[in-house]
Assembly symmetry: C3
Homo-oligomer: 387 residues x 3
C-alpha cells in the first residue's frame, strides 16, 4: 500500500493469500495480477502474495520475480497492506536461507516494489530463538537496502507446538537491544500443519478442533500488542460456516481471518461486523424478539408480554403465562433484565475509544457500568450494581 511501513493498523479483518506463480498458464503471474486489482469489499486488509504453500516449489523463484513485478506495477493503488509470504522452516537451515534470499530480492529498491511492501509473513516458525533468526534476516535486508530498522513488519504462521509456546514469551523477547522483534504484527493460526506437528489424528481425517491454540494465539497477541488471525477455512462454498467461525473467533478476541478467495474476503469484510444500527432484543417466553424503534422509543409488537397499570405505583406484568405485581422500580428492573442490546459498529468503536482513553488516563473501567453502548460487559442484561 504505502511506503511508510509503520504497521499502525490495529484491526485486521482479512488476510488474503494468492499463488505467486501458476504453472501452465501463459502468464504465471495471472492470479497475482487479478488479486492486486481487487477493490471495495473484495479488497483485503492484508494481501499476502504466497510464495510458500500456495505456490509449487519449482515455481517459487519465478514467484518471487512475479511479486516484484506485480507489486511495482499495482502496489501504489492497492488499498490494503501487502505482506508476501516466503519459505521458512524451524528445522531446516536451507529453507531459511532461501527465505532470506527471497526477502532480499523482493525488498531490493532497484526492483521498484519495496515502496509498497509493508512486511513479510514467515511460516513454520519454532521457538522464540527461531523467530529471532527471521527478525535478524529482515534487519539485514533493511540495512542493506537502506530502509529504517523495524520498518518491515513480520507476521508469523503458528504451525507448531514450539511456536504456540513462543507466543507466551513475546513480551519478554520484544524490546531487547539485540533484536527488532517490535516489528511483529500478526499471529496467524496454521491448523493443518499444527495438527501434524501435534500428531493429531481423527477417524475421518477431518481437522480436530483446537480451541486452546486459538485462545493462546489471541492471548499472545493481546499480551504483546499484536493482532490474532485465524487460519484458512477450506470449504469455500460454506459461507454460513465461515461466518459462524468468525463469530467464534471474535468471541475469542481473534479479529481477523484468512481468506482463500475474493468471495471469502467479501464475506469477511462485511458479515460479522455488528449491524449499522444497534437494536434491542426482548426475551419473551424463552424466545428473543427484536424491538422496533418508534420516535426514540423501543416498541414490542406481540401478545406474549403485557403490562397493565393496576394502581398508583403498581403494575401487573404478564409474560409466559405468569403474572407479577410490581412497583415502577421493580417493573423497570424486570424489563431491563429481559432486555439485551445488540451494539452497532459505532457503539463498538465509541466504546473501544472510551476504553482506550480510560486506560490511557488510568481510569479504572467500571465493570457492569450503565452505558448501554458497551459491547462486551454482559452487564447489558443486568441490573445496576447494588449501591
Amino acid at each position: 500500500m504505502n511506503a511508510q511501513r509503520t504497521h499502525d493498523r490495529t484491526f485486521v479483518r482479512t488476510f488474503f493469500t494468492s499463488p505467486t506463480a501458476v504453472e501452465g498458464e501463459d502468464d504465471s503471474a495471472k492470479m497475482l495480477r487479478s488479486a492486486a486489482q481487487l477493490r471495495g469489499m473484495q479488497a483485503p486488509d492484508i494481501w499476502v502474495p504466497d510464495n510458500e504453500d500456495a505456490t509449487a516449489p519449482s515455481m517459487r523463484d519465478e514467484g518471487a520475480h512475479n511479486i516484484v513485478e506485480v507489486v511495482a506495477e499495482h502496489g501504489a493503488e492497492f488499498p490494503g497492506e501487502i505482506h508476501p509470504r516466503v519459505v521458512w522452516h524451524r528445522d531446516d537451515p536451507a529453507t531459511r536461507h532461501q527465505g532470506f534470499q527471497r526477502m532480499r530480492e523482493i525488498a531490493d529498491p532497484d526492483h521498484g516494489a519495496v515502496d509498497y511492501i509493508d512486511g513479510f509473513v514467515i511460516p513454520e516458525v519454532g521457538d522464540v530463538d527461531d523467530w529471532k533468526k527471521a527478525d535478524e534476516f529482515i534487519t539485514i535486508v533493511e540495512r542493506e537496502h537502506g530502509l529504517e530498522a523495524g520498518s518491515l513488519a513480520m507476521s508469523v504462521i503458528v504451525e507448531s507446538a514450539a511456536a504456540e509456546l513462543a507466543m507466551g514469551r513475546l513480551r519478554d523477547a520484544m524490546g531487547r537491544p539485540s533484536n527488532n522483534l517490535e516489528r511483529l504484527f500478526l499471529l496467524v493460526d496454521g491448523e493443518v500443519d499444527y495438527t501434524k506437528d501435534m500428531r493429531g489424528m481423527t477417524p475421518t481425517g477431518e481437522l480436530p478442533p483446537w480451541p486452546e491454540l486459538r485462545h493462546n494465539t489471541s492471548r499472545g497477541a493481546s499480551a504483546a500488542g499484536l493482532i490474532a488471525v485465524d487460519g484458512p477455512y477450506d470449504d469455500i462454498r460454506d459461507v454460513e460456516g465461515y461466518r459462524d467461525r468468525m463469530t467464534e473467533n471474535r468471541a475469542k478476541g481473534m479479529t481477523g481471518i484468512w481468506s482463500l478467495t475474493p468471495g471469502q474476503v467479501q464475506t469477511a469484510n462485511t458479515a460479522p461486523l455488528p449491524p449499522e444500527n444497534g437494536r434491542y432484543i426482548l426475551e419473551v417466553d424463552g424466545r428473543e424478539v427484536d424491538l422496533r424503534e418508534e420516535g426514540g422509543v423501543q416498541v414490542y409488537e406481540g401478545d406474549d408480554l403485557s403490562v397493565e397499570q393496576v394502581g398508583d405505583d403498581s403494575y401487573r406484568l404478564m409474560a409466559g403465562g405468569t403474572k407479577q405485581e410490581l412497583d415502577g422500580e421493580g417493573l423497570g428492573e424486570e424489563l431491563r433484565d429481559r432486555l439485551a442490546y445488540v451494539p452497532s459498529m459505532t457503539d463498538i468503536v465509541d466504546s473501544m475509544e472510551e476504553f482506550e482513553t480510560a486506560k490511557a488516563e488510568g481510569r479504572g473501567h467500571l465493570p457492569g457500568g450503565d452505558d448501554p453502548r458497551l459491547p462486551v460487559p454482559g452487564s447489558l442484561r443486568s441490573p445496576p450494581r447494588p449501591a
Copy 2:
C-alpha cells in the same frame, strides 16, 4: 479481622466487595458500615472495601477515609478478613502512585485501622514485573509503618492477557531475595476487563466464556500455593445460575467466588458445599436414585432393580429389563459399578487431611483406592484395581 495478618487461610469461599463512598448520601460510608456488620452466613470470608471500580473516581479520596474510619470502628468484631481494593493500572504510573498513597494512608497505625487490615487487592495488574511494583509499594508501606515485611497480603485481579501469562511464572518469581511476593494470597478472575483486553466481542454484547482463563488461574494458584477466586456474577437474582457457576468453579479447582450482595455471600457460603451427610446414589435404568440408610445399611426402594438368590453362590440381577446370572463376587462388582457416593463435607475435609498427610509423608496416593470417602477419584463407580 485480626492483627496477625498471616494469611493462613487455605480455603476462601466468598470475596465480597462494597463501595467505599457513595455520592448523594448523608453518610457516604453507609454501605461500608452495613457491610462491616454482616454476621453469620452473610459474613464473607474476605471482605473487600472497594475503592476502585465500585466507587466513583471523584469519591475515592473520601472512600479511603471511610475505609479507615469504618474498619477502625468495626474491624475488631468482623469475623472474616479485610482486604481493601485500591486503584492500580499496569499502563499508568499516575494510577499506581495513587494506589500506593492510598495503601499508605489506610495502613497508617495512627489511623487505627491497620490492626484489622489483612492485605490489599490490586486490580488491573500486568506482567510479573508489574506485580513486583505493587509488592514493592506494600513493602515500603510495611517498613514505614513498622509492620513486619510480608505481613500484608496481596491479592490481584487478573484482567489482562499479560497477567494471565504471569500466573504461570509466580513459582519462579516468589522467594527471590529482591521481592516479598510470598505475600501473594488470592488470584481473582476479572472477566469483564479481561474480555476487553483480549478484544473479545459477541453479537449481543454478552460476556464470551473463557474456560482457559479459569483453568490457568486455578493452575497458577495451585502451582504457587495461592487460592483461585472467580469474578463477579452480575445477574444477582439468578441464584440458580450463581450456584451452577460455583459447581463449575469447584470442578476447576476454583474454590472462591466474588459476591456483589449479602444475598450472594449467603448463597456462596452455603449452597455449593457438600451435604452434611454423605449419601449413595444407585444408577437404575439410566436414572440416579438416592439410597436410604437403615441401620448402617443402604436401602434401595424401588421396582426397577431386584436381586434373587437362585443357587448357592448364584444370583439373578434384574435391572432395566435385562437379567444377569452372577456369582456373589460378580454381583458385588456389578452393584458397585452402578453406585456413586456423594461425599459429605466431613468426608472431604478428612480426605483432604489424609491427602495432605500422605503428601507430607511422601506416601504415594493410591489412585482409585478403595476408600469410599475420597471426594475426587472418579473411582467411586469403579471396581478395585485388578490385583
Copy 3:
C-alpha cells in the same frame, strides 16, 4: 526388551502397569510374572512394573526385588519396552531418596535385569528443577553401574500444576550441559492426583474433565520431541468408553493410553487404529454411507443419490430430494465435496513419512493438498485451493 536402551520408539499405544508385590499370595510376584509373559496383542508397547501406587507401601522393598527377579528371567523375551515406576514426590526428600535407592538396586548389573530395563517412570514430579533431581539420580545410577549417560529413559507422571507448567519449559531445559534431560521419553497424565493438587471437586466425586491438561501435555510432548500418554481409565468393563477416550486422545495428539488389564492393552493395541484398508464415505441426505471398491472404482449402492447425463457436458445430480444441473467440473466438485476418506494405517504411516521427509527437506507442506492419503488435513472434503 533390549539392552540398547535408546528410546527410539516414536509411537506408543499402550502403557501397562502391574503391581510388583501383592500381599497374601504364595508368590508375591505372581502378577509381575504373568504380565512378563503377555504376548501378541496383549503385550503392551511399554510395560511398567509399578512399585508406586499399585503396590502397597509395605510391599515396595519386596516389589523392587521382584522386578529384578522377573525381568532378569523374562526380559529377554518380552516384546515391548520395560520401564519400572518407582516412588517419588516433589514435596518429600525422603521419598525421592527411596526412589533413587530403588532405581540403583533395579539397575545393578550384578542382579541381571538391567539389560532389559529401558528406563524408569517418575511419578508426582513438580517443577523443572524437580525433574532435574530425578534426572541427576538416574545419571548417578548410570555412572555407578557403567551404563552410558542418557541410556536409561525417564518418563514422568504429570500430577500437579507445577508439572503441567514445567511441560512448557522442557525445550529450554533439555540439552543444557548440566543435565541429561534428553533422556525424557513419555509425558503421562495422572488426572486423579492432578485433580487433588488443583483442589477440583465435583458433587458426586467423579473426576472433572481437564481438556486443558491434555492439550498442554500433548503440546509439551510435541515441542520437546516426546510422546504424550493418557492416564488410567478406571472402568475396565466399559470398553466402548475406553475406545471413545482413545479417539479423543488421538484428536489431541495423545497417541498412547494407560492400561490397567491385559484386556485394556488388547483394546488399545487394536481398536483405535485406522482400518487396514482405507475407504471412502459419501455423505447422502445427512447420513454417511461407505463406498465399496470394485475394480479400482468406488461404488455407491443406494437410492438416495443419482447422476444422469442430460447433455454434452451437462449432468443432473439428484440427492436428498433436490436436483442440480451441473457441468462435468461442477459435478466433480460437488461429489468431492460430499466425500470423505478414512485413511488406512498404511496411509497414515506413508503420510507421516512424507511429512517427515518434507520437513527434513524443508519443503513447505501443501495445506489442503490433493493427496487423498493425508490423514489430517480436513481438506479431504474440500475443493482444491482456487488457482
